[in-house]
């Protein structure tokens, strides 16, 4: 295992070094702008998305009945991650007036359909597990 670790590490460092070399060969303006976007991406996750998830978790622990919590969490994971993945599509930021084939579907309606399906399925699963466990809930 030590040899494997060492090899992985060395190959990784080489690839990393090559990547940094490629970065340094970019236009200075491109490099600075890309650096800004990278730092922004980390900030957006670490200081916005992740704390928001912590807060949502705290709120759920307080307001959501125990039997419904797993379902709420699962629906949150599915809807939350899918929404972030589909953000450029849902926002249609890249749409062009003279391109009728780009970003041309009813994404908002489908998103509503997806979200409501997830909520209904989550609710059914939660109710079934509540009945199965015979709990009365809080």
């Amino acid at each position: 295992m030590t040899a494997l670790r060492l090899l992985t590490g060395v190959v990784g460092l080489a690839a990393l070094g090559w990547g940094i070399r490629l970065l340094l060969r970019l236009d200075l303006g491109d490099l600075l702008n890309a650096g800004l976007w990278m730092a922004g991406a980390v900030l957006a996750h670490d200081a916005l998305v992740a704390p928001a998830v912590v807060l949502i978790g705290l709120a759920a622990a307080r307001f959501v009945p125990t039997w419904a919590r797993p379902a709420v969490a699962a629906v949150g994971v599915v809807v939350g991650t899918m929404t972030l993945a589909l953000l450029p599509t849902l926002g249609r930021f890249g749409a062009k007036v003279d391109d009728p084939f780009l970003l041309n579907r009813a994404y908002g309606a489908w998103w509503l359909a997806l979200t409501s399906t997830a909520v209904v399925v989550g609710l059914l699963v939660a109710l079934r597990s509540r009945r199965a466990s015979g709990a009365d809930g809080p």
Partner: protein, 380 residues
């Protein structure tokens, strides 16, 4: 106010068992995206030793479709992976032990590179697939450079964490670990399965633009042609060729040294024809197949006495833009399926598909299938 530490965000879900399992799939998706990305980059910027794959004719369609879908799959996987390790962000550095502090600092730096480059790659790739460019840097060269940083820092991370990863993969996720389990919350196994479900759903919901039989369920695909034809990325108007391409005086110039052949559309039509079913596969991930009707490039080159297997530059009527010209490598220019297409699916080529004629060849990225041809020139 006190600085938060690891215990403030602790949960039984933020555990190595979750991180290792989700991370394994994330690593696989990164590897697929990296390798297919390298291939696509080499096609667009070929090193001297590079030989493009021309058969099967759909090779690039599969490779770029995989690139796009692996990248999309990374979103749920990456978010849950980061969720599982988030408390580490608040770990207190071992201030008193210098050697430990140095190790801690190095690991933090490598993780910072890994997280920054991963988020950057996934976000810029997804935005690019919808033709959204909110940044000022050039997409391809930057996405390519940062890909090396991401894969390199990922390998370093795997090397550092290998014992933890192996232990976590062997451990039962249901076993208790650090952190309290919120009363009634999701189990680790359920979180892992939900993550896989979200990943599968998001991939299927966009895959139709690359996988035709999924078109009915892929309600979030970015390029959709209701009639099932081939999408268009750059219209004639946006390329600024509306007047030039419909000019009756248009001629295709085929040039080899001093010899030039000047061919009208009628001249081209009179040459031996080749009909071939070839896909157009865009770097943005979509692809579609069409039946192209045209003239072999190698027959055109023979008209001006060019030796077989020449390197050829094709030039568009477009006045500018990075894809005004493209290069055919020797094997490509000699390929019997490398065509100057005059028709598509039984009709004349439409102006947005490249009228009067366009290049279409097996296994090339869409941006290199030059439209509105003006000139085909043999490089000396």
């Amino acid at each position: 106010m006190r600085v938060p530490d690891e215990s403030d965000v602790r949960s039984h879900l933020r555990s190595p068992e979750v991180a290792a399992r989700v991370g394994l799939w994330l690593g696989i998706c990164f590897a697929v995206a990296f390798l297919t990305g390298l291939y696509s980059h080499a096609l667009q910027d070929p090193p001297s030793w590079f030989v493009p794959l021309r058969r099967p004719v759909w090779s690039y369609r599969v490779s770029q479709g995989l690139h796009y879908l692996a990248g999309t799959a990374c979103v749920p996987l990456l978010l849950v992976k980061l969720y599982a390790v988030y408390p580490k962000l608040f770990a207190r550095p071992p201030w008193l032990d210098r050697a430990a502090l140095l190790r801690h600092g190095l690991e933090r730096a490598s993780i910072a590179l890994l997280v920054a480059s991963s988020l950057f790659q996934v976000a810029t790739g997804l935005a690019n697939s919808t033709q959204w460019y909110p940044w000022a840097f050039s997409f391809r060269s930057t996405h390519y450079a940062v890909a090396w940083v991401a894969i390199g820092s990922l390998l370093v991370h795997v090397a550092v964490k290998l014992p933890t990863i192996r232990a976590a993969l062997r451990a039962d996720p249901a076993a208790s670990g650090p952190g309290p389990r919120a009363e009634g919350g999701l189990s680790r196994r359920a979180l892992i399965r939900t993550t896989y479900l979200a990943t599968g759903l998001v991939v299927v919901s966009v895959a139709g633009s690359a996988v035709p039989w999924l078109r009915r369920v892929s309600v979030f695909e970015n390029h959709f042609v209701p009639s099932g034809g081939i999408p268009i990325n750059k219209t004639a108007r946006r390329a600024g060729v509306t007047v030039l391409s419909t000019d009756p005086g248009w001629r295709l110039e085929v040039v080899h040294g001093q010899r030039t052949a000047s061919l009208s559309r009628e001249d081209l039509r009179a040459l031996p024809r080749q009909v071939a079913r070839l896909p157009i596969a865009c770097v943005e991930g979509w692809s579609a197949s069409g039946e192209w009707d045209g003239v072999r490039v190698r027959d055109l080159l023979a008209l001006v006495g060019a030796p077989r297997g020449s390197v050829v530059t094709v030039t568009s009527l477009q006045p500018d833009g990075p894809f005004r010209t493209s290069t055919l490598l020797p094997a490509e220019s000699d390929d019997p399926l490398t065509l100057v297409a005059l028709g598509l699916d039984g009709d004349d080529l439409s102006i947005d598909h490249g009228f009067p004629c366009r290049l279409i060849a097996p296994g090339r990225p869409g941006v290199l299938q030059t439209k509105w041809l003006a000139r085909i020139e043999v490089e000396s």
